[in-house]
């Protein structure tokens, strides 16, 4: 809203004159003035309930106490929040609430960060007058993630709302009546849902608890590390709860980052690959056909010698980069390949045709959409993507947008998607031809929109991207685009030049082999794979190639390797990554694994062993270099350093295309899968197997 079209009213709270926009809820107006009106059921952004009655305040000229959560401010309103009548009412609400509450705080997961404890401490009675037998029902497990302890529930309905309004899943409801009313899952005794855990995080008490976190720790025993989720490309901030180098939980209750409180199941619970028993903790070198554990020095020396030897004789070395490693690592890898190994053969698994989009947009500014645009744009066109499955945060942004700003959503997908629920139009397609027609059919509706955000998946590639941009340009309105990619740093891998024909910032370089060509080259002398698993789906033609792999696990590719370096994952690293919308954020290491090293360190040690002069290889130094040399990455350093997300400027100019749109293939990950990381997450696998899993792999 523009400030000028909002009228301001003056109200008086506890003797203080306060200005507030007309129509604002009293509870918010008070909060903005630093006056706390306690509440359980009121939750900003969610439907009003007026159920917990904790926010009752005295308003002069009104006969009864009023719920501050549902009453809008009005000129001249005189409010009292700390008079005896109000204090008395709060005490009585807490007394009522605690009457059937089990008071098992010493063994409750929520103890120490429980809103009911806090409220009782601040506003409650010191004693209990309840001498009856409390109502008890046994605890229930609704899914691998969600446990429900009904007696602890205070029926604030936050979970019901976050699941329905927030997630669009509507998996929780209320059954029975009166004092035995209970929250219930959608499949009688278990859940069929996203398993996102939003209900658990939003629960003010210990009624909803999570499988991974139960009875693991007391909240105050953890350290909290704010970093970026390593699964999909959305770049959600997650705050890891860490104890003794173990990750105990992930959430974003501190609302840091672009995702506010949102996290999907992977962000909240998909970190357990960290302590998977098959995690590699020692370098491996193939001896007599078998991979055996060796000291780091030996493994580094083996690789350095072979790489040096092959490079010296002008042999062919292929390099496959990662969609998960940091920008610094990707930047350093291509530098290592191009300057150190003198090979042009470098590539990565492309999950979206970012290059084609950037090329098509050359000459225009402000045309790349950000995560905020999903939240604010008046109209959004989704083409060929199941956002709720593959881009869960972006899907959530759209839902919030629809809920609060009534955005018009248009969907063009092969099958039904959750966005259909609120879409203005949903069109299905079967192939490229029907896809084009389906999009074209929306022309008039889209043209009538004042602004538009076009989001597309891997169904749109190469020439189709160009046509889509021309389609958007034909409206004459402000149109922004987002090319969807899959993994945590897919966009960064692209921007840092992990292409056989493009260097950092999409600069033209001498053309090398693309990944399938490297794999298919029977004369390939060496293949260096960093954080990727190309041999899962393709065979390596060269039987003599010296294969080096950096990974967390013994993947299909690692099994073929001659040397395997145990790598660290994103939660163990520093550095930056770039999300699907080109927003750069910094990782913060929360845990460590004895024996594994970050990929940058492995590459740096290798460079040292080979005697290569590739510059300083710390993350900070490399990020400085990236800011200086990679087009679009000259982002404000303080913003990055303080945990913010900085938008990278689009490259503005034509880009050399390699004419290989078929190389763009989405990983096809669902809400419960995440490439190799997902395969080694017991939690994610248990969800796929659980009867209620909404999405099957």
């Amino acid at each position: 809203m523009v400030a000028s079209d909002v009228q301001t009213v003056t109200i008086n709270i506890n003797g203080r004159e306060i200005q507030a926009p007309s129509g604002q809820l009293l509870i918010d107006a008070a909060k903005q003035s630093g006056i706390e009106v306690p509440a359980f059921c009121y939750y900003e952004g969610m439907a009003l309930q007026a159920a917990c009655r904790m926010c009752l305040v005295k308003i002069e000229k009104m006969p009864k106490l009023q719920a501050a959560c549902t009453i809008p401010v009005a000129e001249g309103m005189i409010v009292h929040t700390e008079v005896p009548e109000v204090i008395e009412a709060r005490k009585s609400m807490l007394e009522f609430l605690l009457s059937n509450h089990p008071l098992d705080c010493p063994v409750c997961d929520k103890g120490g960060e429980c809103e009911l404890q806090d409220m009782t401490f601040r506003y409650g009675l010191g004693e209990s007058r309840f001498t009856e037998i409390k109502i008890h029902t046994p605890e229930k497990q609704w899914s691998p993630v969600v446990y429900f302890d009904s007696p602890r529930c205070i029926l604030c309905y936050r979970c019901v709302r976050v699941c329905g309004e927030g997630m669009g899943v509507h998996a929780l409801g209320v059954v029975n009546r009166g004092v035995v009313s209970e929250i219930a899952p959608n499949l009688n005794d278990h859940l069929n849902c996203d398993e996102c855990g939003a209900c658990i995080d939003i629960c003010p008490v210990g009624a909803l608890t999570s499988g991974p976190y139960r009875y693991k720790t007391r909240p105050w025993e953890m350290n909290h590390v704010g970093t970026v989720c390593t699964h999909c490309s959305n770049g959600c901030k997650t705050t890891l709860g860490v104890k003794n180098d173990e990750i105990i939980r992930g959430n974003n209750r501190d609302r840091s980052g672009l995702n506010d409180e949102f996290l999907c199941v992977k962000g909240r619970y998909g970190w357990d690959f960290h302590r998977h028993p098959e995690r590699l903790t020692s370098p491996l070198v193939r001896k007599d056909g078998k991979l055996v554990e060796v000291p780091w020095s030996e493994a580094l020396k083996t690789v350095a010698n072979r790489f040096s030897e092959i490079a010296a004789r002008g042999g062919t070395i292929g390099v496959a980069g990662s969609n998960h490693t940091t920008n610094e690592e990707n930047f350093f890898l291509q530098k290592f390949a191009r300057q150190g190994l003198k090979t042009p053969h470098i590539d990565h698994h492309r999950t979206g045709d970012v290059v084609a989009l950037l090329d098509a947009l050359s000459g225009s500014t402000g045309s790349l959409g950000t995560a905020e645009d999903f939240l604010n744009s008046k109209a959004i066109l989704v083409v060929g993507a199941d956002l709720s499955q593959q881009q869960p945060f972006l899907a959530n942004q759209i839902r919030t947008n629809v809920r609060h700003r009534q955005a018009h959503v248009y969907v063009v997908t092969p099958g039904p998607v959750r966005e259909d629920q609120t879409a203005k139009a949903s069109v299905r397609y079967t192939d490229a031809g029907t896809l084009d027609r389906a999009v074209a059919g929306l022309h008039d509706a889209l043209k009538a929109e004042p602004e538009l955000l076009i989001v597309f998946g891997d169904a749109i590639r190469g020439e189709q991207v160009k046509r889509l941009v021309e389609f958007g340009a034909s409206f004459g309105t402000a149109v922004k685009y987002v090319c969807l990619v899959d993994h945590a740093n897919s966009r960064g891998a692209s921007d840092m030049g992990l292409y056989p024909h493009l260097g950092p910032g999409y600069s033209s370089v001498d053309k090398g082999m693309a990944l399938p060509e490297m794999l298919g080259d029977a004369t390939l002398d060496a293949l260096w794979v960093v954080g990727s698993n190309p041999l899962k789906k393709a065979a390596l033609a060269s039987s003599t190639a010296f294969v080096v792999v950096q990974d967390l696990f013994l993947t299909e590719t690692a099994q073929r390797a001659d040397v395997v370096f145990p790598a660290a994952h994103a939660y163990e690293k520093s550095g930056t990554i770039t999300n699907v919308c080109g927003q750069v954020q910094r990782l913060k290491p929360g845990v460590r694994t004895m024996g594994a090293k970050p990929d940058l360190e492995i590459m740096g040690l290798l460079a040292k062993e080979m005697g290569l002069k590739l510059g300083i290889w710390t993350h900070d130094a490399l990020f400085e270099e990236i800011r200086r040399t990679v087009r679009g990455y000259n982002v404000p350093l303080p913003l990055i350093q303080t945990g913010g997300a900085a938008s990278t400027e689009p490259v503005n100019g034509r880009i050399a295309l390699d004419g290989r749109p078929e190389l763009v293939v989405s990983s096809g990950d669902t809400l419960y899968t995440s490439g190799t990381l997902g395969r080694y997450s017991k939690m994610l696998n248990s969800l796929i197997e659980s009867p209620g899993a909404l999405y099957k792999a």
Binding site: A51, L56, S92, E95, G178
Partner: protein, 438 residues
């Protein structure tokens, strides 16, 4: 048909046809006795004139809250993009109340005509009669009458050539006192849990399916034809100042002649009990009196005798007129048991939405149970009063007050009976003596 003998003290307005010999409530009988004429009169009037007539009549909502009906109708926006609805609250479930069923069973077309006039007034084309599930026979009677009205052209399209379209349906509830609260009724009618809505907006602006809705009690709608017939002024004059007309009054409890009687507002309590109600059996004394359903604060016999049955008189005495469900309790009544039974009801019917009502009603029920069983202490008596006061005025909807008010009044006015029950309690209650719920 369930109908008690007409009492000479009654003023028959709404029930005038019912008492005609041989009157069977069919559309033929209704038309023969001047039925649907007031609708035709309304057709000749402007909506404003109809609303003015209702305002002049001083008709106040007969469901219990007593909100002026004309004013309520006036809140419905004239222009609305959304369709408008008529909803009849036939969820009669306030303990002590059984009046709407008499009208619906014996003269169903009177209600239909009332709805038709209301629909004409606000421009509604669809209406629902929400009937409590236990009244299945009334669902059937109402559906039959609706069918008759359709066939005779008093419902449907182009009603009697007026160009008006109005459809009416009977809708059954399934057992929930809370659905008598208007916004909870709307939720229930939409197929949801009967949990009240946050108000404002009120139903007149955003009611059924978020559309403007007139929602009134059966007796309120049924009063409208007679208001148009007599004129608002004459209708008002039947009652007293500020509360026009007659009220169907349900005489229940310790009476020689209980029944449902149509009495003018302002009728004296003493005459109502002794003359209309035939007095208290065995010449016993009046111990306690509930004027209009169990949600009202209880009055002692001494308090009740000099009062008259109208809104102001009851309010002045600290109670309310309510729904017309009079409960007469003689000197043999155990007031602790009465308090317990009333609280048992509210605990059973609390929808569970808000904390004070959900937890308070059950907690109070448990304490009252112990008091009644003789397992309580003097402190518990204070606790009952205290907890009830803690609910009062703080719950999401009026059910909390409905539970608190009679409790507070009984504890306050009949404290000695509670004290008598604890006099012999030797020791604090053991765990076994405490009451577990479910």
């Amino acid at each position: 048909m369930l109908l008690n003998k007409r009492h000479p003290e009654e003023v028959l307005v709404l029930t005038k046809r019912i008492h005609e010999p041989g009157y069977d409530g069919s559309i033929d009988a209704y038309l023969k006795h001047g039925g649907y004429k007031q609708y035709l009169k309304a057709v000749e009037m402007t909506p404003e004139q109809v609303i003015d007539e209702v305002k002049v009549s001083n008709l106040r909502g007969r469901g219990g809250a007593g909100f002026p009906t004309g004013m309520k109708w006036g809140f419905v926006p004239r222009q609305s993009e959304k369709p408008k609805y008529i909803v009849v609250n036939a969820d009669e479930s306030e303990p002590g109340t059984c009046k709407d069923r008499v009208l619906m069973e014996n003269d169903p077309h009177l209600l239909i005509e009332g709805c038709l006039i209301a629909a004409r007034t606000i421009g509604a084309q669809l209406g629902y009669i929400y009937i409590r599930g236990e009244y299945r026979f009334l669902v059937e009677i109402t559906e039959r009458a609706i069918d008759e009205a359709y066939k005779a052209g008093w419902l449907g399209e182009n009603i009697q050539g007026t160009g008006q379209t109005f459809h009416l349906r009977a809708h059954t509830g399934a057992g929930a006192y809370e659905c008598g609260e208007e916004s909870a009724l709307l939720e229930s009618l939409e197929g949801k849990r009967g949990v009240p809505r946050i108000r404002p907006p009120f139903p007149a602006v955003s009611g059924l399916y978020q559309s403007p809705t007139i929602l009134n009690n059966v007796e309120t709608f049924a009063a409208v034809p007679s208001i148009l017939e007599m004129g608002g002024k004459a209708w008002a004059a039947l009652g007293i100042e500020k509360a026009g007309g007659t009220k169907l009054t349900c005489l229940t409890g310790h009476l020689n002649n209980p029944g449902v009687f149509e009495l003018p507002l302002g009728y004296p309590v003493e005459k109502m009990i002794n003359t209309v109600g035939g007095g208290i059996p065995k010449g016993r004394k009046l111990k306690a009196f509930i004027p209009g359903g169990s949600s009202c604060p209880v009055l002692t016999g001494d308090e009740a005798w000099p009062l008259t049955m109208d809104y102001d008189s009851m309010a002045k005495a600290g109670s309310m007129l309510g729904s017309g469900g009079v409960v007469v309790m003689d000197e043999t009544t155990d007031m602790v048991k009465a308090a317990l039974r009333i609280m048992h009801f509210y605990a059973h019917e609390s929808c569970g939405w808000c904390i004070p009502c959900r937890e308070g009603t059950t907690w109070l029920k448990k304490i009252l149970h112990r008091l009644d069983e003789g397992h309580a202490t003097a402190k518990d008596i204070d606790l009952v009063g205290d907890l009830a006061k803690n609910m009062l005025g703080r719950t999401f909807c009026p059910l909390g007050d409905a539970a608190a008010l009679p409790t507070i009044s009984i504890v306050h006015k009949f404290r000695h009976e509670f004290e008598a029950k604890i006099a012999h309690t030797a020791a604090p209650p053991t765990a076994e003596q405490l009451v577990a719920l479910n």
